[in-house]
């Protein structure tokens, strides 16, 4: 019957996109390079995003706080600011101040000393309750993404499993957080936003529709750069040579996609089971004895297979000017650096934020013993 349905579907909607999960192949061929990454300093509790200040310090959002981390390995840490809600995306303004996405509030500007300044709390009369990421263009314009009108950033898994019509927005405002406008609406959890190297486009990564899209800054329709990723795309960042880096929250699995189709089961699961035990992606790679298990994850002779269906995974990619991945770093199912929410080039180094494993790591950039 399902085959018949497929055939009818193909005939009636020949142009409908087939949205199966692509295999990890080509530039995405698995390796262990993310596991070989060096940890920077000690544990940070569930870090979400980082931003490099003009003073060379790294600002890290964790819970309601922003930490200022100095030193070669950013291991001298102090609390920079404490806010009203969980802090997500960060960006450093040219004047040394910081822009922070605060759950339930919107975009908050912080002075170089950590004092709370202006806020952008609504656009077009609607609250910005789910700010995810912020980026600043060369000309000073600020781009902000609002993930969803239904849930806050910390309820990302619920938002994904609810599978509602996309309701995220891309918002632009000026350097003083004024003159806010909605650039694009109906985005599916736009977690990543970056202005392209040539300054002409804004690239947005939509996590729940697994794609990378672009909007011309001069106006015009959206352009789909990559329409179907294996994972849930996370934050984007630009390096000095104009390459875009992309992080992935986790990989899609057949089981999760299946449960997303099984609406009744999914709704009942969300109603009756605690969220950390749901079927779905997780940032945390550590096992909970009561979490759902898949056949391929059963340990054989004491070994967790790295190719098992991934509940959590670590993956970052360097993209070329066309948006295609040219190099990737993986931490596979048996690995240790999972749930990467952000990746930022810092000078010549590239630092990834592993929210799942509570740490910052520095990617090994030299190609060498990566094939494993």
């Amino acid at each position: 019957m399902s085959l018949l349905g497929d055939i009818i579907d193909r005939v009636l909607f020949p142009n409908r996109e087939i949205h199966g999960i692509p295999v990890l192949d080509g530039a995405f061929s698995p390796n262990q390079r993310l596991d070989q990454a060096r940890r920077l300093g000690g544990e940070i509790e569930r870090p979400d995003d980082i931003a490099l200040g003009p003073d060379g310090a790294l600002y890290v959002s964790t819970g309601n706080r922003i930490l200022r981390c100095a030193g070669d390995d950013f291991d001298t840490r102090e609390v920079f600011a404490t806010l009203d809600g969980p802090v997500g995306g960060l960006a450093c303004a040219p004047d040394g101040g910081l822009l922070a996405c605060v759950s339930g509030t919107g975009l908050v500007a912080l002075s170089p000393s950590g004092q709370i300044g202006r806020k952008l709390e609504d656009v077009g009369g609607e609250k910005i309750a789910c700010p995810l990421s912020v980026t600043i263009a060369q000309d000073g314009a600020i781009y902000l993404t609002d993930g969803s009108r239904n849930n806050r950033p910390e309820e990302w898994l619920r938002d994904m499993m609810q599978n509602r019509a996309p309701s995220g927005r891309l918002i632009i405002c000026n350097a003083s957080l004024g003159d806010a406008k909605v650039v694009a609406d109906k985005l599916a959890w736009p977690l990543g936003v970056v202005v392209s190297g040539d300054g002409k486009e804004v690239w947005v990564a939509e996590s729940w529709s697994h794609r990378l899209i672009a909007f011309a800054r001069s106006g015009g329709n959206k352009r789909v750069i990559v329409k179907n990723h294996t994972g849930y795309p996370g934050r984007l960042a630009l390096d000095a040579s104009g390459n875009v880096w992309m992080s992935f929250l986790a990989l899609r699995t057949q089981l999760t996609e299946f449960v997303l189709r099984e609406r009744a089961f999914c709704e009942e699961m969300m109603r009756t089971v605690p969220p950390d035990l749901w079927i779905g992606p997780a940032l945390d790679g550590r096992l909970n004895p009561r979490e759902p298990t898949q056949i391929g994850r059963i340990k054989k002779l004491g070994i967790q297979k790295p190719w098992a269906p991934p509940r959590s995974y670590g993956l970052v990619a360097r993209l070329d000017a066309k948006g295609e991945a040219v190099e990737t770093w993986h931490s596979r199912v048996d690995g240790k650096v999972h749930g990467v929410t952000a990746i930022r080039p810092v000078g010549a180094r590239v630092i990834a934020v592993s929210k799942g494993r509570d740490c910052l790591v520095e990617l090994p950039l030299a190609r060498g013993a990566q094939e494993g």
Binding site: F265, E268, L277, W278, L287, R290, P292, K299, K300
Partner: protein, 703 residues
């Protein structure tokens, strides 16, 4: 409404359908249906078609064609082709008339000579093909042309003699026009031939070898089959059967015309293909060839009787053949897939929320670190020790996934030796009174190993369920066993629908597919004690020897089956709604019982067990590696008493060294831990346990 749904899922007709499709006799379902359909169509369109005389006439005309199809089937089943059957048939027809009616040889002599002729033609075919390594198609085509040409020559040469033949004896007439129980003689002969050749091909060694060579020449050779001789014999048999058909045809027609047997090889080939016999060889039955022949014969004769023109008849038959063959090929090829789609039939299982296993929750199941520092025995020297047992000399026995029983010698268990190699997948272990090691073997049954290492079979079959389509007499998945004081062996068969590798599918069904079986060594009788149990796993005799404790893995229950006392023969639930999936049960030194949890219940899987449709679709839509399964990466050990009260639990948090625990065995103050998928056996010292207690003494007494 809910109970109705539950009833529906428990007794779904899909179960019946799945087991029906599994039957081998379901393969020719398409030709069989078509035969019936064609017959019914003509029966309703042609007047008097069903009258006895009409049917007899049909059968009489059909028999020889059926025989030629059987001859063709032999060559095709052997992996070749015999195009010469039509010509050999015609020549045999001529020879029968010539030898018997013209030369006047005695009937038996003639029959032997004619069949020898057919065998000789077959020998030419077979000799060239088997020993000369020529192509069957070309070889038999050449023989066809030569024999046909010879036939045309001799029929012309003997035209006068053939025209003025005397009629034969009574026996000859009986062969041509007699009846046995209302069935024409030649038809009766076809039936005898079909039954005996079917028996030959499936039950007799040379016949089975023909099928084996047809399936895979290479595999047959590796198995020690003389491939050349078998091929040769297949063609000799084919030729002989074609000659036999010729004799019956001669007896019926008493003439030998120029068109006798023309095109019969094509009809026979079409019949065989229509019947669903694979042209690649090795797959198919004689019955299919006969069915195929019957379809073609009925179509041709029926259309002739309907007065349809010859050309149109041929075209219609061609089209029907094309459609039927295409459909049949698809069916044979995809039957397995259809079976796969309909076989798994999940049932509806409702669970209450289980007791908490959270650390510090205060329940006896609360997570702790007691197994964390378990000493590893046999690390990486063992693959999948599902069960472990210790003998009176403290030696440790366990099972390996390659089908052998491994022994580690006391006192340090460093020396590893293969105690016995049986095969299958050995699972549960037990010692009987004479220190024979009894073992349940998935896929084989229950076996035993004597102390001198000789292996003997205990039992591999039980009583068959009469009301069930599937033959469940053979033991599919014997899982664990224990021995009662009177020497009777009680063992569990976890599932009668799935093999061990498919345990997860049985779990998705959650239905009572398993059994509790008892074998009495004194009488040698094995009989099923309890049926329809949901994955009965661990088996343990209670300390008082009055009852058998058995664990239901999917229902997370411990049950008690009374074998003695006032409640003998009844079963009751001892503990329900455990937080983990139960595996083996064994006696503890303090009069209680150890129970292994192979995995922990997860809220999502419990939810899935209430949703049969969800599980069905999951099995159909996503690959096996991705299926949601019980959380068997985390096990623990618990202890319970005769009243069904759980008193304590032992944990390895995170499942670092013991992810899946399937077995525990207490011995002289130590607890030994085994796992179905593990690479080690764990051991911990039990504080306060009797350091002299051993299971053998507990069962059989003695110092």
């Amino acid at each position: 409404m809910k109970s109705l749904q539950r009833f529906w899922h428990r007794n779904s007709p899909q179960l019946f359908l799945g087991e029906l499709l599994e039957k081998r006799w379901m393969e020719p379902i398409i030709p069989f249906t078509l035969t019936i359909a064609v017959f019914l169509v003509f029966a309703s369109t042609i007047p008097n078609y069903l009258k006895a005389s009409s049917l007899q006439e049909l059968m009489r005309n059909f028999a020889e064609q059926g025989m030629v199809a059987v001859a063709m089937a032999f060559s095709i089943l052997s992996g070749g082709l015999d195009l010469s059957v039509g010509a050999v048939f015609a020549m045999a027809n001529f020879l029968a008339i010539y030898l018997y009616l013209i030369l006047g040889l005695p009937l038996p002599v003639m029959v032997v000579l004619v069949i020898l002729f057919g065998a000789a033609m077959g020998a030419i075919n077979g000799g060239l093909i088997a020993y000369g390594k020529t192509r069957p198609f070309l070889t038999t085509l050449v023989v066809l042309i030569i024999v046909r040409a010879a036939y045309n020559k001799v029929t012309i040469a003997f035209t006068n003699e053939l025209a003025s033949i005397d009629l034969g004896s009574g026996v000859w007439d009986f062969m041509g026009s007699g009846k046995i129980l209302g069935i024409p003689v030649n038809m009766a002969a076809l039936i005898v031939l079909a039954v005996s050749t079917h028996f030959f091909l499936t039950r007799v060694k040379p016949g089975v070898h023909i099928m084996a060579v047809g399936s895979s020449r290479k595999a047959a050779r590796h198995a020690g089959v003389n491939v050349k001789r078998v091929l040769f014999s297949a063609y000799v048999i084919s030729g002989s059967i074609a000659a036999l058909a010729g004799i019956f045809y001669a007896a019926r027609q008493n003439s030998s015309g120029t068109d006798t047997g023309v095109g019969w090889e094509i009809n026979a080939l079409a019949a065989v293909v229509l019947g669903g016999i694979s042209l690649a060889g090795g797959r198919g039955t004689i019955a299919r060839a006969v069915m195929g022949a019957a379809i073609i014969f009925m179509l041709i004769s029926g259309m002739v009787r309907l007065g349809i023109s010859g050309n149109l008849t041929t075209a219609v038959i061609g089209i029907i053949l094309l459609v039927a063959v295409g459909f049949n090929v698809k069916w044979v090829k995809n039957k397995g897939k259809v079976l796969q789609k309909v076989y798994v039939t999940p049932s509806w299982v409702d669970f209450e929320p289980p007791p908490s296993v959270e650390r510090g929750s205060g329940t006896p199941f609360a997570e702790n670190d007691r197994l964390k520092n378990a000493e590893a025995i046999a690390l990486n020297k063992i693959e999948g020790p599902e069960d472990i047992i210790l003998d009176r000399n403290d030696n440790l026995y366990t099972v390996n996934r390659n089908g052998s029983i491994i022994r580690f010698l006391a006192p340090d268990y460093e020396v590893r030796e293969e105690f016995a190699r049986i095969g299958g997948r050995p699972l549960g272990l037990a010692f009987d009174k004479d220190q024979n090691l009894l073992v349940c073997i998935a896929g084989m049954g229950v076996y035993g190993v004597k102390p001198d290492r000789t292996v003997f079979k205990v039992t591999d079959r039980t009583t068959r369920t009469r009301t069930r389509l599937k033959d469940d007499s053979r033991l599919y998945l014997a899982d664990d066993l224990d021995v009662a004081p009177d020497g009777k062996i009680y063992f569990s068969e976890a599932s009668t629908r799935y093999e061990l590798a498919d345990w997860a599918l049985d779990g998705f069904e959650g239905r009572g597919n398993g059994r509790l079986i008892c074998h009495d060594p004194t009488t040698g009788v094995t009989k099923t004690v309890l049926k329809n149990l949901a994955f009965p796993n661990g088996i343990c005799l209670s300390h008082d020897g009055q009852s058998v404790l058995w664990a239901s893995t999917w229902l997370c229950q411990i049950n008690r089956y009374w074998i003695a006392g006032p409640k003998a023969g009844t079963s009751e639930v001892l503990i329900d709604n455990l937080p983990g999936y139960c595996d083996n049960i064994n006696r503890a030194s303090d009069g209680k019982y150890w129970l292994a949890f192979v995995g922990l219940r997860t809220p999502v899987y419990d939810l899935a067990m209430r949703n049969p449709g969800f599980r069905t679709r999951m099995v159909k839509q996503i690959p096996p590696d991705e299926w949601l399964c019980p959380g068997i990466n985390f096990g623990c050990v618990v202890k319970f008493d005769d009243n069904g009260v759980v008193t304590e639990s032992l944990w390895d948090p995170g499942g670092q060294s013991h992810p899946t625990i399937t077995s525990i065995r207490e011995h002289k103050g130590y607890l030994y831990i085994g796992g179905l998928e593990n690479n080690r056996i764990g051991r911990i010292r039990l504080e306060g346990a009797d350091p002299s207690w051993e299971a053998h003494k507990s069962y059989w007494g003695g110092a």
